[in-house]
């Protein structure tokens, strides 16, 4: 990655640092952009005074949490906001004002000079037209070419964004593409007319990490080919660290810190940015240390506080903060601006994020129950002496693929889960990780159903699920509870919080659930007075706390967590992770933690199992798996995760996996990973034959570390 950067810098096609970029005229200049929805006292000021200049070839990252106005900013630049939005300020594209320009002028610019890549690649493509035709259409709108030429250009573009067999794939429909390929096709459309500016709105959020790494690479290639400037909008500080030149951090509709990527990451001057950096679980740092969540929730855009919008959540707020909103002022190095009255102080004292967030005004003792001051890992018995809470042996789940309406016949089998084994002991967290489609959710559902699996055994708290009667099953349900991914979807919108938390209690015959409910609501760090409200009156993090309260109602011993934090913003996520950690230690729980985010798993889990296509690739102690991954898939997965550290990110060696996950209906023979395995390619023929013909079993390597690879060897990738 670094190599290509240097090559680029050498040819001068892309100025590597902001210093050099200052020489050219900005290609896109946004000044004092304001967007207001509605009017009167209910008006929502979604964007307030955003200014930035984008020089040719520059990559600007706009970072912010949901509701910070980052997407509205880009829609305003494109002129795509609905008519009832009032937009003021100035947006100059190559020196020409486009804000308030006629639809006709805008159409001439859109796609040609400025193009956009949206988050959800499925809705960005029309499902009823072939992919190639859609790209050709984008070409023909702005260029006078024949249909054939446009089709040829479409194939070229698909080839450029790395779609194998482009000529053939151009004839496919969007639903025949995987998520990563769709996003590539959308990028191909965006660069079809050599635009000067590409706005990418969360281009990789909907994708798996390995695919995310591929798409980021494609974006870089596209930028290199076209020399376009890119605005990369994301909530992920890791993605930004490795791929942008400058960063703009937004909070409550306003930029609060702007600067070169190194300045923002290493010389932070705004407490909000510090909070964001401190609250991310990091792959390169082990657990043990609690994350630092930012207290509270972002302000509602219709009811902003008079002073600095971050003041209510800021640990170093002083009375001056509440008086007026601080302006974005230069701090330290050139081009680095921050909106904080104490920026100078932070500069002079050289405060680090950790110092700022521990020097909170209230002190650690006054924090809520959700944010314990220090994690005291309880003294635990050695693993072998603790009871087994959950034991899964050779679990298999195959779905039949049926065809025909009248005579339904089986035409194949989806190998969703294919013989996996693991166990969880008391007070232990097992992280089950893998990309979407690897079978982790199926595994979870099989365990939760508490019925006889197709093959293999599941034993919960020592009871084999195959031989349970209804009464015993009910008794186990009491000891095993679940927390789902989407906190809003998992709470009945028609029930009050009280009824939601009361449901498990009433189901298991507890008469007066009142006191217990109040206790639970307080346990998860909410106010008992909130019990009469509905789920939609709460923010995402609070909703997930309600889900956790419900799961804890019956004092279970095993909690199954299905991606419990992936729908939450970073600063909120940290609080929920800390809460889970704290509850585990206080209540002696065991967790089965299913996630796709390996950094979160590293933080919370004791052991981790990596799944690939219904099989376990690697399983073991978190420290061992993360520090010395043995399976090529684990290595690739870990190396694909961006670190929120520009320096490390530049010097890292990234293992890029080719292609997508094969279909679980026809998994490759032998080792399932061999089709994408970087190691497979380096082997000689006899070794390759072994991978093709012999299916690797999970071998024990080291004390608590199992790998299913014939040629496992250590590799440091983080």
């Amino acid at each position: 990655m670094r190599e290509c950067d240097e090559r680029q810098a050498g040819t001068g096609a892309r100025p590597g640092a902001s210093g050099r970029a200052d020489l050219a005229d900005p290609v896109l200049e946004v000044t004092d952009l304001d967007v207001t929805f509605g009017s009167g006292p209910e008006a929502v000021r979604a964007v307030r005074g955003v200014s930035y200049a984008l020089r040719p070839g520059e990559v600007l990252g706009i970072v912010g949490e949901s509701g910070s106005g980052k997407s509205v900013t880009s829609l305003a630049v494109m002129g795509l906001l609905p008519p009832h939005a009032r937009v003021t300020g100035s947006v100059r594209l190559r020196g020409q004002e486009i804000l308030g320009a006629t639809e006709k002028t805008l159409t001439a610019f859109r796609g040609k000079t400025i193009s956009m890549v949206f988050q959800d690649p499925l809705s960005a493509l029309t499902p009823v037209y072939r992919v190639g035709d859609q790209i050709a259409e984008a070409v023909r709108i702005h260029q006078k070419v024949t249909g054939q030429q446009a089709a040829r250009r479409a194939v070229e573009l698909l080839d450029l964004v790395g779609i194998p067999n482009a000529a053939q794939r151009a004839k496919a429909f969007p639903h025949e593409f995987s998520g990563g390929m769709r996003q590539r096709a959308v990028i191909a459309m965006a660069i079809a007319n050599d635009p000067d500016v590409i706005l990418c709105d969360e281009p990789t959020t909907a994708l798996d990490v390995t695919i995310q790494a591929q798409v980021l690479e494609v974006l870089k290639r596209a930028q290199r080919e076209t020399g376009a400037a890119i605005v990369l909008i994301t909530h992920d500080l890791g993605v930004v660290a490795g791929s942008v030149d400058r960063v703009l951090v937004m909070y409550a509709g306003r930029p609060v810190e702007v600067g070169s990527v190194d300045d923002v990451y290493y010389r932070v001057r705004m407490p909000y940015t510090m909070g964001l950096l401190a609250s991310i679980p990091r792959l390169d740092r082990g657990g043990g240390q609690p994350l630092v969540p930012i207290e509270g929730n972002p302000p509602s855009p219709s009811a902003l506080p008079p002073g600095c919008p971050f003041e209510p959540r800021c640990p170093i707020a002083v009375p001056a903060c509440a008086e007026a909103e601080p302006a974005l002022e230069p701090v330290g190095s050139p081009g680095h601006l921050a909106a904080c009255v104490r920026a100078g102080e932070i500069e002079a004292e050289g405060w680090s994020p950790a110092q700022v967030y521990h020097a909170g005004t209230g002190g650690p003792d006054e924090r809520g129950p959700g944010t314990p001051p220090v994690h005291l890992r309880p003294v635990r018995l050695p693993r072998d002496e603790r009871d087994v809470v959950l034991e899964v042996k050779d679990l298999t789940k195959h779905h039949p693929l049926m065809k025909g309406a009248i005579f339904r016949r089986r035409i194949g089998t989806v190998h969703a889960v294919d013989g996996i084994s693991f166990d969880i002991r008391r007070m232990e967290t097992l992280g089950l990780v893998g990309e979407s489609g690897c079978g982790k959710t199926t595994t979870l559902m099989e365990i939760l159903e508490l019925t006889r699996p197709q093959h293999g055994t599941i034993a919960v708290l020592g009871h084999d699920t195959a031989g349970l009667n209804a009464r015993e099953r009910m008794a186990i349900r009491r000891d095993m509870q679940v927390v789902f991914q989407d906190p809003l979807a998992s709470l009945d919108p028609r029930m009050t919080v009280y009824d939601i938390v009361a449901e498990p209690l009433r189901t298991h015959g507890i008469r007066d659930p009142g006191p217990r409910i109040r206790e639970l609501i307080r346990l998860v760090g909410l106010d008992a007075a909130h019990a009469a409200r509905y789920p939609q009156d709460f923010s995402g993090g609070q909703r997930q706390r309600i889900g956790i309260a419900r799961a804890l109602a019956l004092e279970p011993r095993l909690l199954v967590l299905d991606e419990p934090v992936s729908a939450l913003d970073v600063s909120i996520q940290a609080g929920v992770i800390n809460l889970l950690e704290d509850l585990k230690n206080r209540l002696g729980l065991s967790y089965l933690f299913v996630a796709h985010d390996l950094a979160v798993v590293r933080h919370i889990a004791d052991r981790v199992a990596v799944m690939y296509l219904g099989k376990i690739a690697e399983i073991g102690q978190v420290g061992q798996v993360y520090d010395a991954p043995m399976h090529p898939y684990t290595q690739a997965l870990l190396s694909a995760i961006p670190l929120p550290d520009p320096g490390k990110e530049r010097s890292r060696r990234r293992i890029l996996l080719e292609g997508d996950l094969p279909s679980p209906a026809s998994p490759p023979s032998g080792c399932r990973f061999r089709t994408r395995c970087p190691k497979f390619k380096t082997l000689d023929e006899t070794d390759q034959a072994r991978c093709v013909n012999e299916e690797p079993r999970v071998r024990r390597l080291g004390e608590d570390h199992g790998v299913s690879c014939h040629f496992a060897e250590k590799l440091d990738v983080v």
Partner: protein
């Protein structure tokens, strides 16, 4: 008692007081805050009052005939005029409204309940339950409802109106139950239903506690429409001479008779037609507000 104790007790009392209100109370509260709902409810109450208390105020009963006044316009003697037969319009209209209100509301509530239960069970359990329930639904759909009601009409005479209501309701639920079934199938996959399942809540309880309440908006609207549909079906049956049998009257039979004389004796038509319109309007207002009251995501009523 020290101050902190006092404070604690106060706090505790404060917390104990926050007993989360039951769902019914919350919905009732939200309903009563909506202006539209209050107007609708008041109108409906007024209609009931008029239908059941009104006849006692008048001098005439619906069976009386005034042979001194045929087809007379409204006067002090006959407040809303008389019919061709000499019957007092005020008395017969109110009598007809009693029937229509009860028939309409009951048939609608029974029909919608049936639709919700059948659809939710079919959608939730799938398999054999679904197949047999869908089969029954389809069978009911192809039966000519009007014809069967007409054939059965002799049974409804002599005060057998509950049977009439039941048969009417039996022909009202099929389409809704199909919608409910498909909604249940998608609702079943939602995480909160899964969560309840993994908590050990029984399927029947899940249906009544989670599935049906989450469709209450649809059901409220459906019940509203069914009220109008039932009243109108009854009206049209009566128009053709089936349904409510003479000497009893219903709004339908009155409108049917009144339509013939509406041009030169408007009072024979407009009073019963007007009351029917007001009733249906009131029911619609109530239904709309109920839908909003059931849905916590709707904009707070009255705000």
């Amino acid at each position: 008692m020290t101050i902190s104790d006092e404070e604690l007790a106060e706090q505790r009392a404060g917390i104990d007081r926050i007993k989360a209100p039951s769902r019914l109370r919350v919905v009732a509260g939200r309903f009563s805050r909506s202006v539209q709902g209050r107007i609708g409810f008041a109108l409906l109450a007024l209609m009931f009052l008029l239908a059941f208390a009104g006849p006692h105020l008048g001098r005439w009963t619906y069976t009386d005939k005034d042979f001194m006044a045929f087809l007379q316009p409204p006067s002090a003697e006959h407040w809303w005029g008389t019919l061709q037969t000499g019957a007092d319009v005020y008395a017969v209209t109110l009598r007809g409204m009693q029937k229509s209100l009860i028939v309409g509301l009951l048939a609608a509530v029974i029909g919608t309940t049936l639709a919700a239960v059948v659809g939710a069970f079919a959608g939730y359990f799938m398999g054999w339950a679904d197949r047999s329930l869908t089969w029954i639904t389809d069978l009911m759909l192809v039966l000519p409802a009007f014809l069967i009601l007409a054939i059965m009409s002799p049974l409804f005479a002599e005060g057998q109106w509950p049977l009439f209501v039941l048969v009417l309701a039996l022909f009202l639920w099929m389409v809704t139950s199909k919608i409910v079934r498909s909604m249940t199938i998608s609702l079943k996959e939602r995480e909160f239903i899964q969560a309840a399942r993994f908590m050990g809540v029984s399927p029947v309880r899940i249906i009544f506690r989670h599935v049906i309440p989450n469709m209450s908006s649809l059901l409220a609207v459906d019940a509203t429409l069914n009220v109008s549909a039932a009243i109108l079906t009854e009206t049209s049956l009566s128009y053709f001479g089936f349904g409510i049998q003479p000497p009893d009257v219903s709004l339908g039979s009155l409108i049917a008779d009144g339509a013939k004389t509406a041009v030169y004796a408007p009072w024979t038509f407009w009073f019963c037609a007007g009351l029917l319109i007001v009733t249906v309007l009131a029911v619609n207002l109530v239904g709309d507000s109920l839908r909003d009251a059931f849905d916590p995501t709707a904009k707070r009523a009255g705000q």
